[in-house]
Amino acid sequence: MHMHKFEKAWLTFGIGSLLVFLTVLGVSAFYLGNQPPSCLATIDPEKVDTTAPFNEPGLKKVEGKDWDYELVYVASAFSYSPAEVEVPYGAKVKIIATTKDVVHGFEVAGSNINMMLEPGYISEHVTTFDKTGEYLIVCNEYCGVGHHMMSSKIKVVE
């Protein structure tokens, strides 16, 4: 099978770029720790309200961990608990969330915080809030007739 020399050059360049690209993604993921949210912990979706930490949704200061606060969310059709929360500027926060019923999304608009909430699974993401202001949380996975009304708010304050 014959391959034109220009095509060889084109493919060499293309595959070379691809390798560089994948290396960048890989270093970011495995060396710098920028992995997509992939928490492996599970929970009984029927008992969310009585299982820690979801029995007390909201912001909590923690000691002796890599983060300063834990921010716990419980999603259900068509709301998040808490509906609004204030986070101190510069705080390193672990967001921990799950759902009581169907699949929901958890997206802090205009940020990289974006994860799926699936019944039976816990989703986590660690982030630092380094910009003050008001952030809208929206459900970005179809969950029923009130899907577009499902939201919450994070206020980052000095």
């Binding site: 034109h4 095509e7 993604l25 993921a29 997509p36 205009g110 990289n112 179809y142």
Partner: protein
């Protein structure tokens, strides 16, 4: 390779079978297009649906009717016509398989459509368990898939027959490509058929109370990504084989075309995790492995791009073009059969670039489930693929109905594509922009309690409605052309263009026809990418989820 059947017309009986598929496909275009228009109008905030029709109900219609019905019916019709043309008329047995598949798919479509209209299945075409639709909706979609297998069996049988009669010969290129796409489709749909038959159907009938969400979603997306390549490969068939003949040039290389299709077969399937990057329950290392496999389709895509432009340039230079880009002027811009798919090819450049962002592991966090993604696949499937299908219709429909594409219809076809490009620039452009600002996909109009961020999205939603309206005008034009070509165009002979390879002497290596080898590698790759994480999902499964009807 001289192919004696290449000069023949598609047999009338095979033509009828293909046309039956196209009638359903274009009916789907009309219904799904209307649903799409209504969605963009609702989301602009200036319009409300009458008579208690729900936004998510028409969203389900739009997805099912365009994503599954239009595409599958058009593709099956096109592949049957292409196989009949290049490998000879179907035998009665093969044609009966085709008709059986067609009627099963049609019955399934009607069943699913009725359940959606009764508001019993507002779960979108991606199912979203534990949202639970009526069992008949799942049965309807199963019939569509099983029907497509039987329909595809006609192509597989014809291919096997051709190989038996021509030992040691590479199969005709269009037949080969139809076969690859059919096999890829069958391997991929096993995933969605499994979740429907073993999980969703028993659960919706009440035989089991709960369903394993992680497993269901993984089986769905095992199918969900190859689905998009199933849409794309028929467009590639037209780009590789038909377009060179339309412009009067040659296929750059028969062998490399086959190689790129084989690469698509191998790398289209073991990649579903890149739709689940934001999901819990899957180890990120396995996600990353599937990200790498996803990106391997970049290689056949680069080969395709090279091959197409090499064909265009060689043709232009053979007509005396000089300079670096002189050949561009020699291309037949006045011919809808070329220009319409060409606009589709151009759209694939930003579409492919956006796709690279989507699949990029952690970069997906920025755009996952935002309307950026909707903007992305309206460039890939709703522009590159659909415009190519329209471009194919302009010669295939009259070829099958014994009519011709008149000058007036040719011109209208080009106008249609230009309108489409303008409408899509508005709609898809605004979707990409709003998505980067965080606007979610699959959501009705909402001000989110007056949030400042949500207010930024609304002007883009108005732009989407403007684009959607322009696109709907394009759909009306397309339907007008289709009806003309099917019933009213003057009688005559319209060519079915099948290109010849530039280097006729070079026979394609027979290794490409070794299906034990290619299907074997396909299965090994799938097992490699899925076995361990899939066992994890089952062994470490949380308690199952009960069904909900929240619409």
């Amino acid at each position: 390779m001289f192919n004696p059947s290449a000069k023949l017309k598609v047999d009338r009986r095979d033509g009828k079978l293909a046309m039956a598929h196209f009638f359903v496909a274009f009916t789907a275009l009309a219904i799904g297009g209307l649903a799409g228009l209504l969605q963009t109008l609702v989301r602009s905030g200036k319009f409300e649906l009458p008579a208690g029709i729900g936004y998510y109900q028409i969203l389900t219609v739009h997805g099912v009717v365009l994503g599954l019905v239009l595409t599958t019916f058009f593709i099956m019709g096109f592949q049957i016509a292409a196989t009949s043309k290049t490998s000879g008329t179907l035998t009665n047995k093969q044609r009966i398989a085709g008709w059986t598949g067609f009627w099963l798919m049609t019955a399934g479509t009607v069943l699913a459509a009725v359940m959606i209209l009764l508001n019993e299945a507002t779960v979108l075409y991606t199912f979203y368990a534990p949202l639970q639709a009526h069992a008949l909706y799942y049965i309807g979609l199963t019939l569509v898939i099983v029907g497509s297998w039987i329909d595809g069996a006609a192509i597989i049988m014809k291919y096997a027959e051709w190989r038996r009669k021509n030992p040691g010969q590479p199969s005709p290129l269009l037949t080969f490509m139809s076969l690859v796409n059919t096999m890829m489709w069958i391997v991929a749909t096993i995933g969605v058929a499994s979740t429907v038959l073993f999980q969703l159907l028993p659960w919706s009938l009440g035989f089991v109370e709960t369903v394993n969400i992680g497993v269901s979603r993984t089986l769905f997306w095992y199918f969900g990504h190859p689905l998009v390549y199933f849409w794309l490969l028929p467009a590639y068939m037209a780009w590789y084989v038909v377009i060179p003949k339309v412009i009067g040039g040659k296929i750059f290389s028969d062998s490399l075309a086959r190689m790129s299709f084989i690469l698509f077969l191998l790398f289209s399937i073991p990649v579903g995790f890149h739709h689940q990057l934001m999901e819990p329950g899957i180890d990120p290392a396995w996600k990353f492995l599937q990200v790498i496999l996803t990106f391997l389709v970049v290689i056949p895509s680069l080969m395709t791009a090279f091959s197409l432009f090499a064909t265009f340039e060689s043709f232009g230079r053979s007509k005396g073009a000089t300079g670096l880009f002189g050949w561009v002027k020699k291309l037949p811009w006045g011919d809808a059969r070329f220009t319409v798919p060409f606009i589709g090819m151009v759209a694939f450049i930003p579409a492919g670039a956006g796709g690279i962002v989507n699949a990029s592991h952690q970069m997906n966090q920025v755009v996952h489930n935002t309307i950026w993604v909707t903007g992305h696949f309206h460039l890939t499937v709703a522009t590159s693929v659909v415009l190519t299908f329209f471009g194919v219709s302009y010669w295939l429909i009259p070829h099958l109905t014994g009519r011709i594409l008149t000058k007036a219809m040719n011109k209208l076809g080009i106008i249609q594509a230009v309108i489409w490009a303008i409408g899509m620039t508005f709609m898809s452009g605004a979707m990409h922009a709003a998505g980067l600002l965080g606007a979610p996909r699959r959501s009705s109009y909402s001000e989110y309690g007056g949030a400042a961020q949500a207010a930024e999205w609304i002007p883009y939603q108005v732009a989407q409605a403007i684009g959607g309206t322009i696109l709907f005008i394009g759909i009306i034009l397309m339907l007008y052309i289709f009806i003309n070509l099917a019933f009213f165009a003057p009688k005559g002979e319209q060519e079915f263009p099948v290109g010849e390879a530039a280097d006729e002497a070079e026979k394609a290596p027979m290794v490409f026809e070794n299906w034990k080898l290619w299907l074997g590698i396909t299965v090994v790759l799938i097992l490699f990418a899925y076995t361990i994480p899939f066992i994890d999902l089952i062994q470490n499964a949380p308690p199952g989820a009960k069904g909900y009807k929240l619409w």
